[in-house]
Symmetry: C3
Subunit: 449 residues, 3 copies
C-alpha cells in the first residue's frame, strides 16, 4: 500500500477536524449566561438527552456487533462516525438557523445536542446497511455527505413544510435506511461465496442483544425527546411504550409462524421487536388512544417480520441489494409506515382534541399563532409531501454518494480476486468474503429454540 493510502484516513479526518475547529471558533457561541430570559436549564431536558445519547453510542454500536469478525469494528466505527457527525451536524444546523442569518453566529444548548445525536442516528442506520463493505475513509466521507443531505431534509420538513414528524421516524429512520439502500444498490456485488470455516456466534448475538434491549428500553425517550408541551411528550412516551410491547409480542408470534418448525428467529428478535417504536414515531405525540398505539405496534412488526422472511431474500436475489443488518425491515418499511400513519392520524382525529397543544403538533393549523391556514386535509397533504421529500432526497443522495464512494466495486469484485492490484480494494474483498461467510453462518444458526 502506498503512503497516501495508508495515511488517507488520517489526513482526511485531520482536514475535517481542523475545519470544524475553525468554524466553531468563528461562528459558534454558548447561550449568554447573563441573559436570564434565554437561559436554557439543563435539568428539564438533560435526562431525556442522556437516554438518547446512550441509544446512539451503546445501543446502535452493539446492535451492529452481531458479526463475529466485525463486532469490534462496528462498535468503534460507530463511535468514530458519531463523534464526527456530532460536530458537523451542529455546525450545519447552526448555519441554517434564523439566528445565524440575523447575527452571524449561532448558539448551542441541550436541544442542539439532541439534534446532533439524531443526526448520528441517521448515519448509523445507513452504516448498518453497508457494514463490512466499506473502509473507514469511505465511511467518513459517507458521514460527511449524508449528514449534509440529512440536515437539509430536516430543515425542509420541519421549518418549511411544517410537518409533524415527532419521533423523527421519517427524517431519521426512513431517510437513513433508504439512503443506505440506494448506496448499496450502486455498490452491489455479484457472487455469494460459501466459506468453510465454522463457528458459533452465540456471544456475538448476546452482544447484539445489549444493543437491541437498550434501544428497546429508551425508544420512548427517543420519540419524546423533542416534544413539547408536556402533554405531547407524555403521549409520545406512552404511545411508544405500548407500540413496543404489542410489537414485540407480535414479532415472536410471526417469527414462530414463518418458521417451518415453529421456532423463533434471532434476527427477528434483534430487529423487528423495535419496529413498533419506529412506526409510531412520526405521530407518537398525536395518537390519542392507547389501542391505536397497540394496533400500530402490531402492524409494524407484521411488515417487519414479513420483510425479513420474504422481501429481503427477493431484493437480494433480484436486485443484488445486500443489507448487512436488515436495516430495511427495521428502519425502512416501518419508517414509511410511520409516515402513512402520520397522515391517517392527521386526517382522523378532531383537531379540538389537542387543545392548545394542536399548534405545537401542527404549527400551521388554522387559528394558531403562526397564522396558518391548514385544515386536516391540507395538513395530511403536507405530511405526504414531507414523506415524499424525505424519501426522494434519501434515494438521490444515496445514489450520488454510492456512485462517488463505491465506484465500480461490483465489477472489480466480480473479476478474479487475486489479480486485483489495488490493496485497498483487496481489503474490501477480503472483508467481503468474511462478511458473506458470517451472514451464511448466521442464517444457519438462526433458530434459538
Amino acid at each position: 500500500m502506498c503512503v497516501w493510502q495508508r495515511r488517507q484516513f488520517s489526513l482526511l479526518a485531520l482536514f475535517f477536524q481542523m475545519i470544524f475547529l475553525i468554524l466553531f471558533s468563528l461562528f459558534c457561541r454558548y447561550i449568554d449566561p447573563l441573559d436570564d430570559s434565554k437561559r436554557i436549564y439543563s435539568g428539564t431536558d438533560y435526562p431525556l438527552f442522556q437516554d438518547v445519547h446512550l441509544m446512539i453510542f451503546v445501543g446502535f454500536g452493539f446492535l451492529m456487533a452481531f458479526l463475529k469478525r466485525y463486532g469490534f469494528s462496528a462498535v468503534s466505527v460507530n463511535l468514530l462516525l458519531s463523534a464526527f457527525v456530532i460536530q458537523w451536524a451542529m455546525l450545519l444546523r447552526g448555519f441554517l438557523s434564523k439566528q445565524f442569518q440575523e447575527t452571524g453566529t449561532f448558539t448551542l444548548g441541550v436541544p442542539e445536542m439532541m439534534c446532533a445525536d439524531n443526526s448520528c442516528a441517521v448515519v448509523l442506520i445507513t452504516m448498518g446497511v453497508l457494514l463490512g463493505r466499506m473502509t473507514p475513509v469511505q465511511f467518513l466521507l459517507l458521514a460527511f455527505f449524508e449528514t449534509s443531505f440529512s440536515v437539509l431534509v430536516d430543515h425542509i420538513v420541519f421549518n418549511i413544510l411544517h410537518v409533524n414528524d415527532g419521533g423523527r421516524s421519517l427524517v431519521v429512520h426512513a431517510f437513513g435506511a433508504y439512503f443506505g439502500l440506494a448506496a448499496a444498490l450502486v455498490g452491489k456485488k455479484k457472487n455469494v461465496m460459501e466459506m468453510d470455516e465454522q463457528g458459533s456466534i452465540h456471544h456475538s448475538d448476546l452482544f447484539s442483544m445489549i444493543g437491541t434491549l437498550l434501544l428497546w428500553v429508551f425508544f420512548p425517550s427517543f420519540n419524546a425527546a423533542v416534544q413539547e408541551p408536556e402533554d405531547a411528550r407524555h403521549r409520545a412516551i406512552m404511545n411508544t411504550y405500548l407500540a413496543m410491547a404489542s410489537g414485540t409480542v407480535t414479532t415472536f408470534i410471526l417469527s414462530s409462524l414463518v418458521d417451518n418448525l415453529g421456532r423463533f428467529n434471532m434476527i427477528h428478535i434483534q430487529s423487528s421487536t423495535l419496529s413498533g417504536g419506529v412506526a409510531i414515531g412520526s405521530a407518537a405525540n398525536a395518537v390519542l388512544y392507547p389501542s391505536h398505539a397497540v394496533a400500530v405496534g402490531i402492524c409494524a412488526s407484521f411488515v417487519s417480520v414479513i420483510g425479513h422472511a420474504w422481501l429481503s431474500p427477493k431484493l437480494e436475489k433480484r436486485f443484488k441489494l445486500y443489507d448487512t443488518c436488515g436495516v430495511h425491515n427495521l428502519h425502512g418499511i416501518p419508517g414509511i409506515l410511520a409516515g402513512i400513519f402520520s397522515i391517517i392520524f392527521a386526517l382522523g382525529y378532531e383537531p379540538e382534541s389537542y387543545g392548545k397543544t394542536l399548534y405545537h403538533i401542527y404549527p400551521h393549523f388554522e387559528g394558531g399563532p403562526m397564522n396558518g391556514e391548514r385544515n386536516r386535509e391540507i395538513q395530511a397533504v403536507y405530511q405526504l409531501a414531507g414523506m415524499g421529500v424525505t424519501l426522494a432526497t434519501a434515494v438521490v443522495g444515496g445514489l450520488m454518494t454510492g456512485t462517488l464512494l463505491l465506484p465500480g466495486q461490483a465489477d472489480r469484485r466480480s473479476a478474479d480476486f487475486q489479480s486485483d492490484s489495488s490493496e485497498m480494494s483487496q481489503w474490501v474483498q477480503h472483508n467481503w468474503r468474511f462478511l458473506e461467510q458470517e451472514l451464511l453462518e448466521r442464517e444457519r444458526l438462526h433458530e434459538i429454540y
Copy 2:
C-alpha cells in the same frame, strides 16, 4: 411434531394479543390533555421510570444469561414475557381501579407504566426459578396466570390492607420467588445426570455481571420509584444505597468464609450482592437512621450467602426443589426479611418523626386524612397480615399454576428418555439435560480467585 404443537405458541399468543387490543380499545384511555388539573407531567417521574425499565429489560435479562446454552433464550424470553405482562398488567390493574368502577374506563400515565414494569419483575423472578425447564408456551401461560394473581395481591396489600411495602419487596420479590418455587416443587425432577462436555463459561458470567451491576446501580430507583412525597423518596434512595454497599462487602466476606480455601464464589457475587436492596425494600421509605440501613444490608447478605451455601443444596436433596438461578436466596429469603423489617420499623420508630409524611407511609394511621385508627402495634399486625397474604397467595398460585403447566413431568422424566413419544416433552428433556450439565460445570468453575 404435529402442526398444533408447532403452531401452539403462535396461536395462543395471537389470541392473547387480540384480546388485549380489544380490551385496550374498549376500556383504556389517556389522561385528558385539556384537563390541566389531572395532567401528569412526564418530567418528574420519568427518569426514575427509565431506571426501572432498564432494570427489567436489560438487568433481569442478562442476570439470567449465565447459562452458556441459555443466554440468548433467557434474554429473549425475558423480552417476550415482559412485553406480554406489560399489557396484561395494565389492563388488570385498570379493571381493579376505582376509576373503572365509576366510569367504565380507566386512564394511563407514567405511574401506570411503573406498575406494569413492576409486574414484569414478578414474572421474571419466577422465570429465574424455572429457566431452562419450560417451553415458551408454558412460560406464556405462566405469565398470564401469575400476573393475575400478582395484581390481585397488589390490590389487597395496598388498597385493602394499606400495608407499607415501599420498594415492593413483598409483592414483587417474595411473591415472585415463592410462586416460582411452589411451581418448581410440582414440576420437580428426579435424577441429576453428569455430562461429559467441557467448556468455559467465562463470557457467560461476564454477561450475567452486566445484569447484576445494572440491578445494583438502579436498585435505589426501584425502591424509590413510587414513593412520595420527596422526603420519603429521598430516604428510600439513601437507605437502599447504604444497604447495597454494606451488603456487598458482607457478601464478599461470607463468600470467602464459606469456602475452604477462602476464595470468592461468583454465584454469590452475582446474586447475594443485591440482597441488601431487597431486604430494605419494604421499609426503604421508613428507615430513619443510616446505620439501620447498613445493618439491614449486613443481615440480608448474611442470610443470602448462607442460603446459597447450605439451604439450597438441602432443598435440592430433600425436596427435589431445583432453583435454576438461585432465586430463593436473592429474592425469596431477603423478601421475607424485608417483611419482617417492615414490622420491626413500624413498631420501633416514633410516628411523630415522619411529620406529615406519616400518612403517605401508613395511610390509615390515626389522625390522618383517611380517618384511620391504627397505632404502631395495629400497623405492625397489618404488615404481618400483608406478608401472610402475599406468601400464601404465592404458594397456592404457584402450586396451582405448576400443576396446570407441568403435569407429570417428574414421572415422565424419570422414565426412559428415548422411549418418550411426545416431541415437546423430548424438547424439555433435552433442555433439561443440558441445563444440569451447565449447572454442574458452573459449580466446578465457581471460584474466581
Copy 3:
C-alpha cells in the same frame, strides 16, 4: 496456605464493616424530614447521580474487563472496592464537615452520595494501574489508605485553597493515576516473560468497549454533576460533549498515524477517546467558547495517544513502571492537562463574563459574598497550588501505600519462582505470568482494521 492467610480477607473486611456500622450509628444521620428549609429534593440531582453511579459500577468495571483471564475478577473486585469506599468516604467526609465539628453528627443526602461515588472513581483508577498484581486483601487496604488521602486532598483543594476543579479532573483523575503509578513504582517487577498460549481476546475487548462507551456517554454528567448554578452546569455538559467529540475524532486520526500501516489500535480507542472529557474536567464549568472545548479535546487525545505509543513503553523499559490498563495516558497526563487548562482559563477570561456565577466557580474572587481578595492572577496561582498539592499527595501517598502493601515483591519475583514457599506470593506470581501473557497477546492483536 495457613488458616490466617485463607481467612485474612474475611477477617479484615469484617473488621472494617463492623467499624463502619458503629461509626454510622454514632455520627451519621439523615436530613430532618420535618425541616423543610434543609430538605434536599431528590428530583433535581438524582438523575445526574445515577449517570455517575452507572459510570462507576458498570463503566469502570467493564473498562477493566479487557484481560481475558481477569474480566470477571476486574468486574467483581471493582464492585467490592466501590461498596467499601462508598461507606468509608461518606464517613471521612462527614468527619471533616463543618456540621460535624459544630454538632458532633453529620447528615447525608444526594450530594454526599455523589461525593462518595467520586471517591470510588479515585480508587478504581488506581486499581487500573495495579490490576492483576494484587490480592483482594491488598486491594482492600489500598482502598482504605487511598480514600483517606484522597478525601484529605479534596478537603484541602476545595475548602481551604478554594480551587476550581469542577469535573474533579485533578482530585479524581490525576490523583488516582499518580497514586497508582507511585505504588506500582515500588512494587515493580523485573522480567517480562513470553508465554506460549494463544487466544483471541475479541470478546473481552467488546466487554471493555461497554465500559468505554458508558464512560463516554455519561462523561458530561460526571463533569456537570456537582456544578451550580444552572448555567455552570449547562456549560459543563456542553464543553464536555464537544471535547469528547473532537477528542474521539483526533484519537482515530493519531491512532492511524502512529501505526506503520495506518490501522487503528484498539487500546487507543478504548482509552484515548475518553481523554477529552478528563482534560476539560477542571474547567468544564468555566470554558466560555465552544471552540475552546473542541481545542482542549484535540490536545488531550494528542497527548494521550502519544503517551500510549511512545511514553508508556519508555517508562516500562527505563523505570520498570507497569501500568496494566494504561491509566497514565487516560487519567494521568490528561488530568495534569486539565490542571494547566484551568490555570489558562482562569487567567484568560474576563471575570465579568460569568456574572453572578463567578463566585460559584471561584468562591474567593474579589467582590463576592466570601469577601475574597483574589484577582485573575492570584486565582491562577491557587489553581497551580491545587495541582501541586494533589500531585504531591498522590505521589507520596502512593509510595507509602506501595511500600506498605507490596514489600519486596520485586525481589521475590526475580528469584526462582517455584522455590518460593509463600503460597500467597505464588498466587501473585502465577497471576503475574498470566497477566504478562495477556498483555503481550493483546499487543499482538491490537490492530482492528
